[in-house]
Amino acid sequence: MNRTNIEEFEAAALPHLPDLFRTASRLTGDRGRAEDVVQEVYLQAWKSFHRFTLGTNCRAWLFKILMNTLHHDRRKWFSLRSTQLAENDFEQTLMYAPPVPEKLTDQEVLSALDRVPTEFRAVVLLADVEEFSYKEVAHLLEIPIGTVMSRLSRGRKLLRELLAGVARSYGIGGAPQEGKGA
């Protein structure tokens, strides 16, 4: 099979552009930078398309290239694989499950998500938004499955704490203010 065919590549790879772009955008925090990264991902993917086995998981393959591109980004936006934060930094504060507003706007949710440290945010995005399995996330980020689980758990807890901050701004446990509902 001729795998150097542009149309074949585009048919397999381009449907995943929205998924790759939103992940890059949330991880870099910069839509312009995400555009550059995603273009780079597609060029790299095209160059190595001859090594891709058609019929296998093209989406996971593209995400792997995305994560490598982000990880090796010369600008050192962040590190996805090693965290400077102690693994249980949040443990103490998050034992208490705080109330979260029933209705949240997309902006409130995304603002909170963007404040979650990148290594935890990456796992939340890959597992919860892109719905990769733990095993796939471990492969994408080159971390053990146990680390995926702990980062996902802590990422979700931290997100919850940040969203509870929104609740506190409404008055703890209170109804959302007028105009703040989704």
Partner: protein, 294 residues
């Protein structure tokens, strides 16, 4: 938070499982254990509901982010511009390797040429055209030659020239072809070049159209005495509003052709066969009418 129903120890155990339960990563037995507990423990049930709600909110909010307009086209363009494989036959495969080996030198020249198209000499282009069009009738080579010389081996400016510039390059006689053709092709096709050109002593009127995934030429040339497509013993594959359309393939290029008493016209692209024919059929009647009125 009240944790009372089955004792705090049981609730704590279930809550440790909740993240994996939500991610559908638990073994069947553990899954059942969580389910049984949730059914009977309102506090843990509420806790699960909150966690699922947050996860859903993140999914919905993140998935609403839209791809910037034009990014997909930019990617398609970059892939083409940086691709060294554009001119390989579409049915290239391992079993052709031995044949290709014999052409290694010329292919290398083409590959290098595509990376810096200006460096590919006219002679090298002719060699390439000769190689790919050997099975094509002479009359269809007339169109293919111009497409490869003029449309494929060319660097295009980022923004296509304005219509006035194209009209000037075509001359008043043929300027009307640009808006005429534009109305006959899908919106995704943009006219990126329109001019008159000369290849091997023959004059052409040439429109180049680009879609996000293909490059297409409409090529028109005056017939030489005695020249006609039926005289070349070709058979039309379809009639578009009474206009016979002929087709052939050379490497990855699809050539469709039609004629008027005075002109030969070609629609050539790297599209699939059916798609190239469809576009030729859409264009042919109007272009034939245009040329007949000249």
């Amino acid at each position: 938070m009240k944790i009372v129903d089955f004792g705090q120890r049981n609730c704590e155990k279930v809550r440790r499982y909740l993240d994996s339960y939500i991610s559908n990563e638990l073994l069947v037995e553990s899954n059942l254990e969580v389910l049984r507990h949730i059914e009977q423990c309102s506090a843990c049930s509420q806790e699960l509901e909150t966690r699922v709600r947050i996860r859903t909110s993140v999914q919905v909010a993140a998935r609403r982010e839209e791809v910037p307009p034009g990014l997909e086209q930019k990617i398609r363009r970059e892939i083409r511009e940086r691709s060294p494989v554009r001119l390989w036959p579409s049915d290239f495969s391992l079993r052709w390797m031995s044949a290709v080996a014999a052409l290694l030198l010329i292919s290398t020249a083409i590959w290098i040429g595509l990376r810096s198209r200006r460096e590919l000499s006219s002679k090298e282009q002719d060699a390439y055209i000769g190689r790919i069009s050997s099975g094509l009738s002479n009359i269809l080579q007339v169109g293919l030659r111009d497409h490869v010389h003029c449309a494929v081996f060319r660097k295009y400016p980022k923004d296509p020239p304005a219509f006035a510039e194209m009209a000037h390059a075509l001359g008043p006689q043929y300027a009307g072809l640009v808006p005429l053709v534009k109305t006959k092709v899908p919106d995704e096709y943009r006219v990126i070049l329109a001019h008159r050109c000369h290849v091997q002593g023959r004059s052409y009127v040439h429109l180049v159209l680009r879609s996000p995934s293909s490059l297409l030429s409409l090529i028109i040339t005056k017939k030489n005495p005695g020249e006609s497509i039926p005289a070349a013993q070709l058979t039309p594959v379809l009639e578009a509003a009474g206009v016979p359309v002929y087709r052939a393939a050379a490497s990855q290029f699809q050539v469709a052709a039609f004629e008027t008493p005075a002109y030969l016209a070609f629609v050539i692209s790297d599209l699939p066969e059916e798609r190239n024919l469809q576009l030729a059929a859409a264009i042919a009647p109007s272009v034939q009418g245009f040329l007949n009125q000249m």
